[in-house]
């Protein structure tokens, strides 16, 4: 009987780095988080919406935003889920993450939820129900990225 043909594979790993320019707007946002533990959004003068994370322009009016507005640290949960798989460079699972509409903001900011027991997902989901009030907490050692802050139930 003829042997099945040997089929080969080839694994390719590309390890290249990108040095992304954050620009003035995101730079200000992250330096304020890093240096002062404060979160700022940008206001569109025409629509009056405060965009968080901050944008240099509104994608609705297409006008440059004009004003920094401090938001939070309180807010309410807009969306959440629980993750059970490991992602490269992210915290060990399981964890909860999602979006929070910080006080004074018109768009929601993505981040992690901490100090919620995820052993029973249904009970955890009740605690993190959409609309629940949360407060932003900041790490003692901050480097100017999204992992510098997280949300806890208020």
């Amino acid at each position: 009987m003829e042997q099945p043909m040997e089929l080969l594979g080839r694994q390719e790993v590309w390890n290249i780095a990108y040095d992304h320019a954050l620009g003035e707007t995101a730079s200000y946002f992250f330096t304020q988080i890093r240096d002062h533990g404060r979160i700022f959004g940008r206001r569109c003068a025409q629509s009056n919406r405060v965009l968080v994370p901050p944008r240099a322009f509104s994608d609705e009016t297409l006008l440059p935003t004009t004003e920094w507005v401090e938001v939070g640290p309180g807010g309410r949960i807009e969306a959440f889920t629980f993750v059970y798989e490991q992602f490269n460079g992210l915290p060990p699972p399981p964890y909860a993450f999602g979006y929070v509409l910080l006080d004074g903001a018109d768009t929601a900011l993505g981040g992690y939820f901490r100090n919620v027991d995820l052993t029973n997902p249904r009970e955890a989901a009740e605690k993190l129900a959409i609309g629940t009030r949360v407060v932003t907490k900041f790490a003692e050692q901050r480097k100017g990225d999204v992992l510098d802050f997280w949300f806890e139930i208020a």
């Binding site: 390719e12 969306a79 889920t81 929601a108 999204v146």
Partner: protein, 382 residues
């Protein structure tokens, strides 16, 4: 918008789940392109232009269209690509025929599963400033969308489970061999593993032709483009109300206006919806005007969307059965084309004359398209 020339689908090949390692990606693209041409009874010499929909991260090739020119027949020919979504390849191909500048188009899309982690490849789709440090893949986005719908519609999870059961039941007809269907996917709150599926490798191709070419070659059962629309939602999930699909409402408005459809709930013999999760299907029922939320319980109880129902949805088994992630949107359009052409196979709706395809893709279906295909160029829409 008015077409100079009305396009029709005259050839089609769908491979929603390619298993085995005996064909390289280029060979898969060659196979699907040749299968669609053969289905049309044409050769590459009859094709005036090629549009491919492909994703560099999944393919493991930068500017993936570069390697696709050979297998599709694009060497020394006109070939473009739409990295935004597979369904946009169909839209662009159809527009090129409709412009009157091209008699024919070959439209091809594919989605391999050779990357070590589909989730990590999808995460590259998030901006590197605010969202890359989150576990943001399509499943996370779909899960948060499901949670948002549950919040505004507390019974949504019951209907979502019913939708998943319906589509898996349809799959048992369309794909009777259970071993051909992949295992349930990952759970991510509030999605259960029964509401998702493991991604598979797939490919799809269609041949489009204008009315003059259709008349000249005498195709028997073309699926005529009666209307289409497409729109895009904000890139940042935090800017969106995830319980709604305004881009799909806009896409549907464009498509219905073009097709002259006033009452979509009763218009279509067959519908395909991108049920990336069953919650996506529930949102689409509403956004497409197929059924307002307050009527869904009654409609489901009478089997309105099930096989044999008034407006059957996802007789192919839908995305919950086979999810070749990047080309799954274009497969929805191809499924409707095959229904109208009478070539859908085991799940054919007898005498289907008008069908609707909803093609969505991206995080919580950021990209939304609606395509209406009919057995006649125009005229018999309700």
């Amino acid at each position: 918008m008015p077409y100079k020339v009305r396009p029709a689908v005259v050839g089609c090949a769908i491979r929603p789940a390619i298993t085995g390692r005996d064909r390289s990606l280029e060979e898969i693209i060659y196979d699907i392109s040749q299968a669609a041409l053969a289905d049309a009874g044409l050769t590459i010499e009859d094709i005036d232009g090629i549009v491919v929909g492909c994703n560099d991260q999944f393919d493991g090739r930068a500017i993936s269209v570069m390697m696709a020119s050979g297998p599709t027949g694009g060497v020394d020919r006109d070939i473009l690509s739409t990295p935004s979504s597979s369904e946009h390849a169909f839209v662009l191909g159809a527009l090129r025929v409709a412009s009157g500048q091209f008699r024919t188009q070959l439209v091809v899309s594919w989605s391999p599963t050779e990357v070590s982690s589909m989730s990590e490849a999808q995460r590259l789709g998030a901006d590197p400033y605010f969202h890359r440090a989150l576990p943001l893949d399509e499943l996370s986005a779909h899960a948060m969308q499901a949670g948002a719908l549950n919040h505004v519609w507390p019974n949504a999870w019951v209907f979502a489970e019913t939708v998943a059961v319906k589509n898996r039941r349809h799959a048992a007809v369309a794909w009777p061999d259970p071993s051909a269907r992949p295992a349930p996917g990952k759970a991510r709150w509030p999605l259960t593993d029964r509401m998702t599926t493991e991604p598979v490798t797939g490919a799809v191709a269609m041949v489009l032709a204008g009315a003059d070419f259709v008349a000249e070659r005498g195709f028997e059962n073309p699926a005529w483009l009666r209307g289409m629309g497409w729109a895009t939602e904000a890139a940042f999930l935090g800017d969106r109300d995830l319980s709604k699909a305004p881009a799909l409402e806009e896409a549907a408005r464009q498509a219905y206006e073009e097709a002259g459809i006033k009452d979509p709930a009763a218009a279509f013999d067959v519908v395909e919806i991108t049920d990336a999760t069953p919650y996506c299907e529930l949102i689409a029922y509403d956004a497409l005007g197929l059924c307002p939320r307050e009527q869904i319980a009654a409609r489901m109880a009478e089997g309105w969307f099930a096989k044999g129902g008034k407006s059957p949805v996802n007789l192919s088994g839908g995305v919950v059965t086979f999810n070749p992630v990047f080309c799954t949107g274009m497969i929805r359009i191809a499924e409707i084309a095959q229904q109208i052409r009478g070539k859908a196979g085991a799940h054919q709706v007898e005498g289907a004359r008008l069908g609707l395809a909803h093609a969505g893709s991206g995080f919580a279906l950021q990209y939304q398209s609606a395509v209406i295909l009919g057995a006649t160029p125009k005229g018999d829409a309700p």
